[in-house]
């Protein structure tokens, strides 16, 4: 290493130190929002793989209910977004249909659909972010993995609800194809789990509210909601997702989430 590069290294180190100490003293709301998101992601790292059963209850304004059932498996990858497989069990006409997603931190996700009647695997566009997942109030982008890179952040305030402290953070989707202009999220200060999200549509009107509940702790470290409720304020419709049979450490690897394994999904 020559002297010049040493000098540059030294200068960079000094600059970094200066900036870090500056951050501690006066963190901007944007930096604090980002720091909360990074901390939440750090705490949730290392879960490996998981599988669960999902029941989806669709409600119309007048209370008429319909149910959907599916199973989901997911695996964490080292350098990129999670990989997941959703297998549909009910209603009967879509039974056996399966969806494979390779999510990416920045690039659009890769998605394939398996159609059991034709034995056909179709690569599908992941551009349909704002589209309804299974005609529910959950959009595809609400179901995808929540990578830090998918939003820009701004810390708004602290809030105490029913004796628990929350960070209230504004998230703005970085993807212009998102159906939302902003989201207001409530992050639990003790566990960093996401408790509630308000979604604002392209006209910046409050569109939906997501509430997570019935949290359980898995592997002594990872909080997962047993229930998620999505209320649409414009249509009056709502969807409840109930998770059961959560299991971790099933020995799943990235190899279990390929186009070849999608064809075998049952």
């Amino acid at each position: 290493m020559n002297n010049l590069s040493k000098t540059i290294t030294l200068v960079s180190a000094t600059v970094l130190l200066t900036f870090s100490s500056f951050n501690v003293l006066a963190e901007t709301p944007e930096e604090k929002g980002l720091a909360i998101a990074i901390k939440a992601q750090e705490l949730d790292k290392g879960w490996g793989d998981s599988s669960s059963t999902m029941q989806m209850i669709l409600r119309k304004k007048k209370g008429k209910e319909r149910t959907r059932e599916m199973r989901s498996r997911a695996v964490e990858t080292e350098s990129d977004g999670d990989r997941s497989l959703i297998i549909f069990d009910d209603p009967a006409d879509v039974k056996g249909t399966a969806m494979l997603t390779h999510s990416h931190k920045v690039e659009p996700d890769d998605q394939w659909l398996f159609l059991p009647d034709l034995k056909r695997v179709k690569r599908i566009s992941s551009s349909n972010k704002s589209g309804a997942f299974m005609s529910s109030e959950f959009a595809f982008e609400d179901m995808g993995s929540q990578e830090v890179e998918k939003y820009s952040y701004k810390y708004l305030r602290d809030e105490n609800i029913d004796g628990r402290d929350y960070f209230v953070v504004e998230r703005i989707p970085t993807d212009r194809k998102s159906g939302y202009t902003k989201q207001i999220s409530w992050v639990d200060q003790e566990t960093y789990r996401l408790q509630k999200v308000e979604f604002y549509d392209r006209k910046s009107a409050l569109l939906k509210t997501l509430t997570a509940s019935d949290f359980n702790l898995y592997l002594d470290k990872y909080w997962r909601p047993g229930r998620m409720d999505m209320q649409n304020h414009l249509t009056g419709k709502s969807t409840t997702l109930i998770f059961s049979e959560y299991s971790f450490g099933n020995g799943l690897t990235e190899d279990d989430f390929t186009k070849a394994t999608l064809k075998k999904a049952k």
Partner: protein
Amino acid sequence: MKNSRLSCLGRNLSNFKPCITVFAYKTALIAVLGIGLFSTFGINTSHAAEWDSELSIEVRSFLNDSQRANQKNENLSLSFETEFYHDWDDDNQRFVIKPFARVDSLDDERTHFDLREFYWRKTFENQNLDLKIGLSKVFWGVTESVHLVDIINQNDGVENLDGEDKLGQPMINLSLDKDWGIVDFFILPYFRERTFPSLDGRPSLPFRIDIDNPVYISGAEEEHVDLALRYAQVFGDWDVGISHFSGTSREPLLVPSITATGLSLTPFYDQIEQSSLDLQATLENWLWKLELISNQGTLQDRYTALAGGFEYSFYDLKESGIDLGFIAEYLFDDRKEQSTSTFQNDIFIGGRFAFNDENNADLLAGIVYDLDNQTQFFSLEASMRIGQSMKVNLESRFFSVDDSSDAFFAIKDDDYIGINLTRFF
């Protein structure tokens, strides 16, 4: 012809007496129906072993008067399919059996039975290797209007014009799934003849097809062992497949011959070498697709055929929740007029609506237009769910043909509208 149990499958059995009696056939049908009904009681609801069945009633109404004495303008048909599967050995082994049967009011050829799937599969997890032995179904390809590359399974031609119903193909399949791609090797020890509607069925050709006496260029006839190899990989936005097939052509030439009962067409199965490429680029709202085949027969000269185009989707049209896909594909076959395919210089234009409603309603409508002779083939398919365990399909095919040399000319009066109601158990 050799008498083999397998050759009974997918064939009109009453016309093929040496093989299996009508009585045995009916018994099998009743057994299948019985098993299906039994399954409705839910003998097992775990995911390691399961029965799934569907019973369909189909009504087709033909808009033009029939051309032949036994044909009618209305057709009623009942079909039943049931699947049993069982996974064990940590899901590393699977057994599947999937019988299918149809009873048709008009067409004796369409009244038939087939084992769509009947196989055992073992996964060697450490090697990322799968071994599958038995009857199974494989789909290759990407385009919507035709399926050029898809060659492993024979068409169950009595079911539908679209070539998407397939007969179970006996196979030994080794599948290797690695980071650098998926390699599939197939040994296909037994050939399944294409099924054809009878003279009474609609749509059908105006000549008797002598399905009991097919001619093979290979001395091994239907026991010729066919081989196939495929490599598939995903390169970012691109899904690519390269395949080669060596064996009995799935598409027979129909050779006119004079028999005691008059003129009939004899299915003639050549030996072919077919290489193919299929690729799709998925670029945001655009899907770009190409299927290309190069086929060399023992008797037929080398020819090239392709289908290529795009599908562009408008998602959530005017915030209605509806997705609209616009599809355009160009179809080419350099055999020109000798082409057994009618799609030698045609374009397909279509639209796909996905309503994304609670009944999962969708609609696909399209037209194939022949740029050489202006023949038009119009097709519409729509479906929606009814309640939790029923589905209704609407299907319509219309033909507009002036050129008597076009393959569609023979069925130009067989325009129809069909409704299919399916109950899932």
